[in-house]
Amino acid sequence: MNPLLAIAADTSIIRVALLLSALLFAIGVAGFLTRRNMIIMFLCTELVFQGAALAMIAFGRLHGNLSGQVFTIFILTVAAAEAALALALVVLLYRRRETLSAEVWSELKE
């Protein structure tokens, strides 16, 4: 067994971690739904990501293996790439309309 996981699974810390992950997820979703600024909305999606990643680590700890941490590394990598892409998009959208509000983009409705 991995020495890092040799410590007996302390369920209390897992519980706290899961609570924190749910909080991060909820804050992310609430922020995404209520804000119109595209950068803020993007930041909120990052919060949602981190909430999920934290839950992965917590569950990995619960199961006594490294899968959750491996997932997290992947999530961070993908999120970094996505952040570069998304910020570039936001900059382009801003140049088009001179505003960061998401409300001005609704061409695809119906």
């Binding site: 995404f32 739904l33 909305m41 998401a102 409300e103 609704s106 061409e107 409705k109 119906e110």
Partner: protein, 702 residues
């Protein structure tokens, strides 16, 4: 009477020789095809002048010359000439696993007999048409001659083809040519309707021929004549029911093409086509294809003698019915059309009662005199601006330019009425004598019916001649004025020039000469040439005056009124013909008012008063067909159209098409374009799933 030639050994159909030395005969087939292509090119390139007519006459004349050349050196046995591979399939070891239909010719004397008058008359009538159609030089001239060439090519394939498939190709080809040429004046609704009618009615018959072809292959494993006849003779079929059906199916095809009951209705309407077409296709050649088919396939019919009884009855009834209608028509060409149907009826009667010789000989003589009659009618129509109503034409004999036409028409009429020692007298009387001398009572009855019809024929024929060509000069021009300048000026009938006169004279000579075999038989007691021709072919079994399948001389047959059947037929048909001509002379020339008063008298007599009107309206056969077949089909078509349009199209197809759109309309409000509303939908969905999970967890369901 010469003694009937001893029945030629029946191996005349089995000993088939390969005729590779005669492969030049393939040009008979190729020349009209080339001419058709060239005429089509002329039509496309709008070549002015009479070039298409020259091409057609030259190629048909060359075909005729080739046939004559072959006739000179004709071998005694049938020959097959393999020209090219065409259709050849094989998928197993036996004959029943292969279909062989090469582009080959099967030439026996029957073929040559037919080709002689088909190409000969084709050439002469094309020459006639070169002048007759000259008003159309700028419009449809090339199209017309392309049609004639297609017809001759198809007819050649039909008659000379070495297998049933080639025969079928020709059969369909002549139907196509007939359709194209009947509808030649395509701006006239009547012509278009007539063309459609001819095509569709023929299609019913063609179905019979096609099915017969299929069954022939199924029963005998071959459709090549060179193999087929020996197999029919030698081996019993492996499918007796199918075999029994074949002659009836072929018969249906023959009745369609040769205008017999119940499929004769297209031929009178086909007179909407130009007159040379009526003469060539609808009188002399194409309509005899049915007679040819039965004569060619006679071995199959002999296996099923009941089928021949049907042929005899249909032929006899058609002869009588068409003659009664012909008596009451006022249109010159229609009378000749009904007389064609009636004469074709005689030919089928001949085939049915077992004299293929009589039937084929009558076809031969009829081809000449009926072409002559149509062409004289055409000359009248050409000269009198399309007038064909015999109530508006009289005394043409005395109109300048029409004397020759009148006398040639008289010749044609005498031949049609079969006066003694005309060509038809020999051919028709062979048929009637065979019927009268038959052992079968019903054939004898048909013989008497044929004799009665001969009387009617003489009457309606001379009704035309005495009305139109004799009597005081009086005429009303028709509506087709060639020159607009003269439309309002006084009408001058113009007589035909040489290109019409020459074919008329040559065909008249042909009509006289077609009786030659009969004269020679009667007076020189030599073998009848026509009989010799038929006897050396697949129709051999019926070439003699046979009774119930075995050849026997008429002298030994049934006695009619105490006389030999042949003598009785000649005598009686002569007497009845004379009576018919006499009545026609009396009421249509000597006292023309008598015709009207007789008609009035009949019309006011109870019980028979309806007869003249009903005969004039063709016994309402077209109306009955309309009510019995066309109306139900028309109504079914409309019901099905309604179902298709309002249930299948509007309901099922459009319904399926509309379903996604209506589903989309339900969910459309969810997508208003605001980014957050989409997010709310997603979050709401996740929320609902969460609620569901929690609900299950609370209820203890995991």
């Amino acid at each position: 009477m010469t003694p009937m030639l001893a029945l030629v050994s029946s191996d005349v159909t089995t000993a088939v020789v390969d005729g590779a030395a005669f492969s030049w005969l393939g040009w008979t087939l190729a020349l009209p095809a080339i001419s058709a292509v060239l005429c089509t090119l002329c039509a496309l390139l709008k070549v002015p002048g009479k070039l298409p007519a020259m091409l057609t006459v030259a190629s048909l004349g060359a075909s005729f010359a080739l046939v004559l050349q072959f006739y000179q050196q004709m071998p005694a046995t049938p020959i097959t000439i393999h020209l090219a591979e065409w259709m050849s399939f094989s998928w197993g070891p036996t004959d029943f696993h292969a279909l062989q239909a090469p582009l080959a010719l099967y030439i026996d004397r029957l073929t040559v007999f037919w080709m002689l008058f088909v190409t000969g008359l084709g050439t002469l009538i094309a020459l006639y048409a070169s002048e007759y159609m000259e008003a159309d030089v700028k419009s449809g001239y090339a199209r017309f001659f392309a049609g004639v060439s297609i017809f001759l090519f198809s007819m050649t394939a039909l008659v000379m083809g070495g297998n049933l498939l080639l025969l079928y190709l020709g059969w369909e080809g002549v139907g196509l040519a007939s359709y194209l040429l009947i509808g030649y004046y395509y701006t006239r609704p009547a012509a278009v309707a007539a063309a459609k009618k001819a095509f569709i009615v023929n299609r019913i018959g063609d179905l019979g021929l096609a099915l017969g072809l299929f069954l022939t292959w199924r029963c005998y494993g071959t459709i090549e004549f060179s193999e087929l006849f020996s197999r029919i003779a030698s081996a019993p079929s492996n499918a007796p029911w199918d075999e029994a059906l074949i002659p009836y199916l072929f018969m249906l095809g023959a009745f369609g093409k040769s205008a017999q009951i119940p499929l004769y209705v297209w031929l009178p309407d086909a007179m909407e086509g130009p007159t040379p077409v009526s003469a060539l296709i609808h009188a002399a050649t194409m309509v005899t294809a049915g007679v040819y088919l039965i004569a060619r396939m006679y071995p199959i019919f002999l296996v099923q003698p009941d089928a021949l009884v049907v042929v005899a009855w249909v032929g006899g009834s058609t002869a009588l019915l068409a003659a009664t209608i012909g008596m009451a028509q006022f249109d010159l060409k229609r009378v000749w059309a009904y007389s064609t149907i009636s004469q074709l009826g005689y030919m089928f009667l001949g085939l049915g009662v077992g004299t293929t010789f009589g039937a084929c000989y009558h076809t031969f003589t009829h081809a000449f005199f009926k072409a002559l009659l149509f062409l004289t009618a055409g000359a009248v129509m050409h000269g009198f601006a399309g007038q064909l109503d015999l109530r508006h034409l009289s005394g043409l004999r005395r109109v300048p330019g029409f004397r020759l036409v009148s006398w040639l028409a008289l010749l044609g009429c005498l031949w049609l009425a079969a006066i003694p020692f005309s060509a038809a007298y020999f051919s028709k009387d062979t048929i009637l004598a065979t019927a009268l001398g038959s052992d079968r009572a019903d054939f004898r009855f048909l013989g008497w019916m044929g004799l009665f019809t001969a009387g009617l024929t003489a009457y309606y024929t001379f009704r035309i001649w005495f009305r139109v060509f004799a009597g005081p000069v009086h005429f009303v021009p028709g509506n087709d004025s060639h020159d607009a300048d003269h439309a309002h000026a006084k009408f001058h009938p113009h007589g035909p020039r040489w290109a019409i006169r020459l074919p008329l004279i040559l065909i008249a000579i042909g009509a006289v000469l077609s009786g030659l075999p009969g004269y020679i038989e009667t007076f020189a007691h030599k073998e009848n040439w026509a009989q010799w021709m038929i006897a050396g072919s697949s129709a051999v079994e019926g070439a003699g005056l046979s009774h119930g399948g075995h050849a026997e001389h008429a002298d030994h047959g049934h006695l009619v009124l105490g006389m030999d059947a042949h003598k009785a037929a000649s005598l009686l048909s002569g007497i009845l013909g004379a009576i018919g001509i006499g009545i026609a002379f009396w009421i249509h020339l000597a006292r023309r008012s008598a015709a009207d008063s007789i008609r009035r008298t009949i019309e006011h007599t109870p019980l028979i008063g309806w007869i003249p009107r009903a005969a004039e309206r063709k016994w309402y056969v077209d109306e009955v067909y309309h009510a019995a077949f066309r109306m139900p089909l028309w109504m079914t078509a409309h019901v099905l159209h309604f179902i298709d349009k309002h249930i299948v199209d509007a309901g099922v197809v459009d319904g399926i098409g509309r379903a996604p759109a209506s589903l989309g309309r339900v969910f459309r409000p969810l997508y208003g374009g605001a980014l957050q509303s989409y997010a709310v939908t997603m979050a709401g969905g996740i929320g609902l799933i969460l609620v569901w999970l929690v609900w299950n967890w609370v209820r203890g369901v995991h």
